[in-house]
Amino acid sequence: MKKRVLPLVILCLSVLIAVGSQTFLSPCVHEDGSFGACHWAGQAMLGLGCLTAVMGLLLLFRPGSRSGLFIAAAAAGVLGTLIPGTLIALCSMSAMRCRAIMQPAMTLLCCLVILAAAAGLILEERKGGRKP
């Protein structure tokens, strides 16, 4: 039971990232069908969310390699904080949707993923240390 809490948290956050990037946290509202860079940042977040969701599922349902999966999830979280704004430029005005809503929301969600993964890793390592 206790082992499942953190993977479940990661899974939920991942779903939020993936679904959010396309819906309520999406970078732009398309009025004229043109796509800017921020749109592709949103698409990248969709992919990243799916990736961490798979990690969450593996942690939930497959025994073994838990530490590695937690490390990978944390790394993906770091990538997620970098995609909107740093790796992919967003719109120029800070009041625009991509910078007012998507970027901070994604940063927050990814930081939570990192925290959950770090906590999971620490617990995993401590457990491993107790019974070598």
């Binding site: 800070s94 910078r99 007012a100």
Partner: protein, 402 residues
């Protein structure tokens, strides 16, 4: 095991109860911290607006919506353009009671795609200007040259970047410090640059001519400083009622009053919210601690009989509460800080008021005060429990059921 060991152990062995208390105290510090920072940001936004307006009266063309448009440009960072004959400037400058008059000309850029929003370009007369110039001077020591622009802090372009405005390449030479107002989303240039841009816009079919007159040059607003001893109201009335000028006036004082009224509204809503959260939490904490009193009577009787003094029991409870408040307080502040700082732009646009986050020192102070407030609340709520428990009748409790 040490003095801190006992309360710590009690907390870790009852994780459910401890987390519930931590979450409750986190709400306390979150509401206090986030609420205070928002109100402080609004206050510094208002101060910054006052500083940036710096004029007594602003004269704009008398068309139906220009006054609202102008206020929205200043407060919310929307785009807009309206024009009047540049010749009016000299007449206004010469009017009675006017000490200084400085023109500004506005131009809104076109929206190219989803990612380039319309920019508000503001041309200033660098000799006459007394409102924007001092602000630009904070970031750049020299005047803006031909086609050079300074950008507000909400625009992501940096010094060295080039903005394309109506097919003209405009190098960014300064980034201005944030004001929390709509001015942060604008681009500033000299009047000469503005002329070039207006012509470029004309070529692309964007008209900026004053419809009725056949003016050669246009301006959008005139910032007026009223002479010492003259009445702002009277000057405003006389400018507005001039038979041929067809202008409207915005008195900055009334604009600031509007903003500060809005601020007062938000501030009182925040206060009510904080009050409600605190009152509710206090009641919950009191109930929780009262329940704990009963549950823990026996435990404290045991501690008493193995030699704990009343004082050390009181200290034990207060330490436990302190640890919970510290953890909850820090958690609440961390969550509050994350939300407030990440979503600044969203909060700003949702409130529709000048919003300028105060500097780090002030925020750290608010954080410490929020933590202290939370700890005080915890201490108050547990004080009764501490008192009761330290006074348990050891013998009778331990012999119950004999």
């Amino acid at each position: 095991m040490s003095a801190a060991g006992l309360p710590f152990k009690n907390l870790t062995r009852k994780p459910g109860r401890t987390w519930a208390l931590v979450l409750l105290t986190a709400f306390l510090s979150l509401s206090l911290f986030a609420g205070s920072v928002v109100v402080m940001s609004l206050q510094s936004g208002l101060r910054s607006l006052e500083a940036r307006l710096g004029a007594d009266i602003i004269v704009v063309p008398a068309a139906a919506k220009t006054k609202t448009d102008f206020q929205n440009i200043l407060l919310q960072g929307t785009t807009g353009a309206f024009y009047m004959d540049a010749g009016l400037l000299d007449q206004i400058a010469a009017a009675e009671g006017v000490e200084k008059a400085a023109p500004q000309t506005f131009l809104a850029t076109l929206k190219a795609d989803c990612c380039s929003s319309r920019l508000q370009v503001i041309g200033i007369d660098q000799q006459a200007d007394f409102t924007v110039q001092p602000w630009i001077a904070q970031s750049s020591s020299r005047e803006l040259g031909p086609l050079e622009v300074a950008v507000g802090s909400d625009i992501s372009a940096g010094v060295g970047d080039t903005l394309r405005i109506y097919r003209q390449s405009c190098p960014v030479v300064a980034r201005l410090s944030p004001t929390g107002t709509g001015l942060d989303t604008a681009v500033y240039c000299s009047m000469e640059t503005m002329k070039t841009l207006l012509e470029a816009a004309e070529e692309m079919g964007v008209s900026h001519k004053v419809t009725s007159d056949n003016a050669e040059e246009v301006i959008s607003a005139v910032y007026v400083k009223v002479a010492e001893g003259a009445s702002v109201d009277q000057v405003a009335t006389s400018l507005m009622s001039h038979p041929r000028w067809k202008v409207a006036v915005v008195q900055t004082r009334s604009m600031i009053t509007d903003v500060s009224d809005g601020l007062a509204g938000v501030a009182s809503a925040v206060k009510v919210l904080i009050g409600a959260v605190w009152a509710l939490s206090f009641v919950i904490l009191l109930v929780v601690f009262a329940l704990l009193t009963n549950e823990r009577k026996r435990e404290f009787a045991v501690l008493r009989l193995i030699g704990a003094s009343r004082r050390s029991l009181r200290r034990l409870i207060l330490t436990e509460t302190g640890l919970v408040c510290l953890l909850g307080g820090c958690l609440g502040i961390a969550v509050g800080a994350a939300v407030i700082f990440l979503f600044t732009a969203l909060i700003e646009s949702a409130l529709g008021l000048p919003y300028l986050t105060p500097d780090g020192g002030k925020i750290a102070l608010v954080a410490v005060l929020s933590l202290l407030g939370t700890a005080l609340m915890g201490a108050l709520a547990s004080a009764r429990t501490a008192w009761h428990l330290s006074r348990v009748d050891t013998g009778s409790i331990l012999r119950e059921g004999n």
